[in-house]
Amino acid sequence: MHDLLPHISAQLTNVFGSIPYFMPEIYLTGLFLVVLITDLIFGRRSVKLCKIIACTGLLLVLFKDLQQVALILDGDHVIFGSMLLLRRSAVFFKIIIDLLSFILLLNFTWDDKLKAHPKGLSDLYTISIASILGLHLMAMAINLLSVYLAIEMVSIASYLMVAYRSETALSTEAGLKYVLFGAASSAVMLYGISLLYGFSGSLDLLGIVARLPNVNPVSASFALVLVLIGIGFKLSFMPMHFWVPDVYQGAPTPVTAYLSTVPKIAAFALLVNVMPLFLFSADWKGIDFSIVLSAIGIVTMIAGNFAAVLQSNVKRMLAYSSIGHTGFALMAVVTFNLQGLSSLTYYLAVYALANIGALALASYFSNIVDAEEVEAYKGLGLKYPVASVCFVIILISLTGIPVTAGFTGKLFVFSAAYSAYEQTHSIWLLSLMITGAITTVVSLFYYLKIPLYLFLKRTENAEVASERSYNLLVLAIIISFLLVLLGIFPNSILKYL
């Protein structure tokens, strides 16, 4: 204790000094408590209230996020004693996460199946707010402890959300698989962290990077690989992707939308926080992680896209496609430059938006005609033209065909990769790009399946179910409109990134 006495005041100053840079998270914590209390007080009938509170609160958080933009103008800030790093990309990731989360929170009650959950949805709001807090931490984490904590926070929230519809077998099954896989991955990761800590004597990533070169490179690489497993689990890249299809399919659709987007963005934020430290350290002699990530990217793209071709369940198909997208986004990561980062941000935002839209429409069709399999979509295109057209636009964006935001996203990623290639002439980047191009074509195979069934296949029964789920429809329309708009004027967002 006496050793620490001289440091305490400095530490406390640091903590207090950090608080201004931590406002969104503080608001989130507050929001969490408010929602929790509302939930506890009003019980099952509080869904609407919880929703309103959660959403308005999130808007407030978003506002705070935006305020942070001003804070980072003077450079990066390490806060809470090297626990978190607030920097430009983190802020943008946070803004995107909050924005998407806002949509997702709105979305929860719009899925009929989830809404019919007998135990109410208010707990879900509580859990998801906590999860968003975790995501925020993830985007900023720069310390092994905060990394681990953030990942666990998000993971546990995710387990709960997946298994949330405890009365249905599939949801529970998905939950079990998720929790077992996730817990095992995090155990492995923790072991890696412990080794990393042991080898460097520090939890601070910067400190680790500084000291790791003194260790045997093979050992250090192994520890890093184990840590990568934990991040990979969240990103669901090959070979940590096995849980994805089952879980996405089993989880309630809005939860799938949640899982497939925001944690992924946060995990990418984490990846770009962590990985470059090791790559650009001149003393690093272990495994070249840019090659590892490239290889993973290639394999992930292939595995995700090719397997998706054979799927018939819409959600499962989208799950595989999200694996493919992870692979593609890794291309932007391995460029390890600023352009790569901004293109990654853009790509992820656009992908997430489109994916949310796609899953919202999956909910929509599931609500009105109980369609889960793609065969059930047969002939719906002419009966529900607006939704179907939106679906097409969204899928086109996911494929990456002009004029949608997906295309511009792909273009920026490609150009980032290209410019990196121009400097390094790395064969891996080239093969990444080629694989990306090929898998884009392959992805068309399965993305087209939905329009194919919607429009091209004819069906006999002509009855039109009463249109409900206007909310989802409006959401889908807004999303597809945004996607097209961003496709034509990517400037409007990209110039900030």
Partner: protein, 101 residues
């Protein structure tokens, strides 16, 4: 003198035992136990190394957090396992495979 390597080796053995459990046991709860074993292996490492980090207590604090997190994870996992049992009347992970290609 007990060296760090000794601790690490013990940890490694525990870790691998846990790993063996999670891939082979036909019971979700045993799988969970396996995970706990792996976690403990990691905690052991942390604690062992923490000995040389007197000022910051990094290892020990991390160990504490890990234990708490393990508890939370286990609680959640068990809740899910119970639910699974209600739906499937079994907790053998291999039997639960409605979701598959």
């Amino acid at each position: 003198m007990i060296t760090l390597t000794d601790f690490l080796l013990v940890g490694a053995l525990l870790f691998c035992t846990g790993m063996y459990m999670i891939v082979s046991k036909r019971n979700s709860i045993q799988v969970l136990i396996g995970i706990e074993l792996m976690l403990n292996a990691a905690i052991l490492n942390l604690v062992a190394f923490g000995k040389y980090d007197k000022l910051n207590n990094g290892g020990q604090v991390f160990a504490l957090f890990a234990i708490v997190l393990a508890a939370a994870t286990t609680a959640v996992a068990l809740a899910i396992v119970l639910n699974v049992y209600r739906r499937y009347k079994t907790i053998d992970p291999d039997e639960i495979k409605n979701l598959r290609d």
